[in-house]
Structures are given as C-alpha cells and as structure tokens.
Assembly symmetry: D2
Homo-oligomer: 130 residues x 4
C-alpha cells in the first residue's frame, strides 16, 4: 500500500439534509475530491485525462458509516492505493472527525479507466501509481 | 424478500459531471429517493419520523456500477427489503436503463434507526416491514 | 413570448436541508432541467451542442422565493422564452405547488452561447427559438 | 455597509457539469456557505437558530455570472451586509478567481427570518448585524 495522503474539509450546511446530518451521498463527494487531489499530487490530472478521452470511472464502492457529520464539523479524508487487478485499481479511504479523531466512515473504492469507445485503457501513470 | 417496488427516473443534465456521465454520488440520490418512496408506499413517512426524532440512517452501502447513465437516459430503480439483524434492515436495489433494460448498477444498502440520543430504536413499522 | 412549456416534479428528500425545506440552490436545478427539456422539445439537444463545442451558459439569474417546497410536494415548473438582445436569450420561469396551485418561486434566467474559444456564438436554432 | 468577510474555496470536480465548468447552481452553494461562515463570525449559528425554530430563508437572489470556474481553480467568496427593510436583510457577495483576481460572479441575496409558524421573526442578533 502507498503512503497516506489526506486533506481537510469542513461541513457546509447545504450538505446536511432534514435530519441535520450530512446526507449519505455527500460522503462520496468528499471521497472523490480527495482521490482527485491525490491523483493530482502524483501527477495525474483528472480533467486533462477527461479531455484526452480517458475516463477514470468508479466500478464499486463499499462504504461503512460509523458516526454522522454535522454542521460545523471539520474532518480529514485520506486515501491510500491498492492494486486490485491488471485493469482495476483501488482506493482505501477513511473519514475522521478532527475534533476527537473519531472514525466517521471507511470506504473501499474500485476504479478502472476506459477510452472514448468504452474499452478498458489504463494510462501508464495510473499503472505505475498502483 | 419483499415484492419488487420500482419507480422511473430520467437523467437531469446537472447530474452529469465533466465526463458527460452521471456522477457516482448521484446514484446514491436515486437509490435514496426510491427507498423513501418505497417506505411511503408501505406507510412510513421519512419526514414525519425525522420530526418525531427517529432517524433512519444508512450504515453501509455496497454499490456496483456496470454502465454509466447519460443525458437523456430514462431508467428504473427498484427496491426490495431484506432483514439483516434485529437492529439492521437491508435494501437490495438495482438500476436498469429503460431503453434496453441493461443493468446500470446494483446495490445493497443497510440501514438502522436511532433516536434523538443516538441510541438504536427500531420503530415497529420498520420492524414489521422487514 | 412563446407558448408555455411545463413539466412536473416531486421533491426528493435529499433536496431538503436541515431546515426541512428544499435548499435554495436546488431551485436552480429544477429550473435548469425544465429549460433543457424545453430546448429538447424545440429540437435543441444541450448535450449534443456541448459535444459540438457550443456552450449554452447562464449569464444572470433573478429568482424570487415565495413559499418553501417540502418533502412530498409535487410541483410544476414552466418556461417561456424572451429575446433580450442579439446575443442574449431569456427564460421566464415559475414554480407552482401542484396541491393548491400556489406560487413557490418565479425566475428570469438570461443565457448566451459561446464557442470553444469563449467567443459568443448563437446557434441558428437558438436564434430562431427566441 | 459592513466590513468585508471572505473565505477561500477550491473547485471540486463533482461541481463541474458536462460543459467542464462549475454548474450554475453550485455558485449558490458557495455563496450560502460564505454567508453561514460570516454569520458564525458575527456570533450567529445557523444550525442553532434552526434547532430553535428560527429559519433564515432566502427571499431573492440576483446573480451575474461573468466567467466560469473550472477544475483546479481556487477562488475567494466575500460577503457584506446591507439592510433592506425592517424584516429583510441583504448580502452583497462576489466571487473572484484567486490566480488573476478576475471577477467570476457578483450577487445580491435578500433574506428574512421566520418562526415555526411561518411568521416573520427577526432575531435581535440579525437585527443588530444589519
């Protein structure tokens, strides 16, 4: 597994739903943004790849929610890589509340890359990173 | 397992990201809306429960993405129930493209219910439904 | 002004924020989806235009909120066109609650079209439609 | 008018739509988050007010889009207050790209406060702040 990459977020109130806690779908946003920042950190630009016709897509997500995030919470999202198969790459991610370091959620996200024709195509940079 | 409950959606363009396909997080929105409509169908009102201090929360999501949804696509999201444990209830859900009935995604979503103190509290209606 | 085009929506619970009412930003989503369906109705495909390098973009929004939408509400969003200037086209839109026909919001949305270089470029179909 | 309050954001890729630019609705999210942080800065907690049954709601938005935000852009959103009437308070806001200080958007947002019965009720803290 790779070194740990992490970034800090703060809950934005529009991310909370009528229960007063962050809606379950927004955790995928936090996880995705962290992955894209990680990719950028290792020299891969998601937008540039997209313009070149290489789509990095999610194939599977496993996400365990432990504690809800609320208005005002700051939290850390991290990201480690894990090679799954020749064409599949994984991200092990977790979300921790900054105030008390409690685990909010853990996730495993498996992705692949396809070209404009929908065919699997793993760019060499991805291949080397995982 | 319960009878199959299903509703129809159409992709809204704002749900697509720069790749021109529906962003991975929006599938959780489709799945949630279908679950809430299903709960309503069996006599459970998510909003009313929330106001009464009973929060139905997601504990785990497993989501497999097969094919991406695109602008203009209509699709069916379904929902079946599955009892997991005394305090956990599951939803087996799938998303199929209407045009050709191809599978877009399949998911297993596990939920529980908590009261205002964060303690597990399964309302009898949920208990009976699963 | 053009004929009235309208479509029906139902609030999805994830669109509500901690106040238990639809978050202000989601009204822009409803309005946009209605505009894109309207454009499709008159033979203009937003996604196809995007792929061809013609970007229809919003330049100004004026939005008055009268009453909040809540969980369970069904509502109608409509769309009429209004020519603003050679390069600007307007949409007059309103949102009404289905149950009692009460006005929820009214909006004026002004758009333009630009090409890949960021230069104004109004496709003839838009020019004729407004 | 009040002093200038401002915070920094960075575009998250999920905020971009198929045009490769930030979707128009997400600007309302940026503006709202900045207003809530500003309110917090002057001692008003949006979530606490909500729990106490005081809803700060948007009545009108005027938003001019100048230049689109793209993947990777960092930007500053600011917020100044402007009293509109006894029951209405305004926010003058702008979004500037950090790299070149170019104006991305300017907005005027008018809000009011209502209690649980939907009646206007301006908390003294809001009254004093504007």
């Amino acid at each position: 597994m790779s070194e740990l990459f992490q970034i800090e977020f703060k809950v934005r109130d529009y991310e909370c739903d009528m229960q007063g806690i962050v809606n379950n779908a927004n955790y995928l946003h936090y996880l995705e943004h962290t992955r894209h920042e990680f990719l950028h950190h290792i020299g891969l630009d998601f937008e540039k790849l997209t313009r070149e016709g290489i789509l990095l897509v999610v194939k599977r997500i496993e996400l365990d929610y432990s504690l809800p995030l609320r208005s005002g919470d700051s939290f850390i999202v991290d990201c480690q890589t894990q090679r799954i198969s020749p064409l599949r790459f994984g991200f092990i991610q977790s979300i921790r509340r900054l105030e008390d370091n409690k685990s909010i959620a853990t996730a495993r996200v498996i992705g692949t890359a396809i070209n404009r024709l929908g065919r699997p195509f793993l760019p060499p940079e991805i291949d080397q990173a995982f």
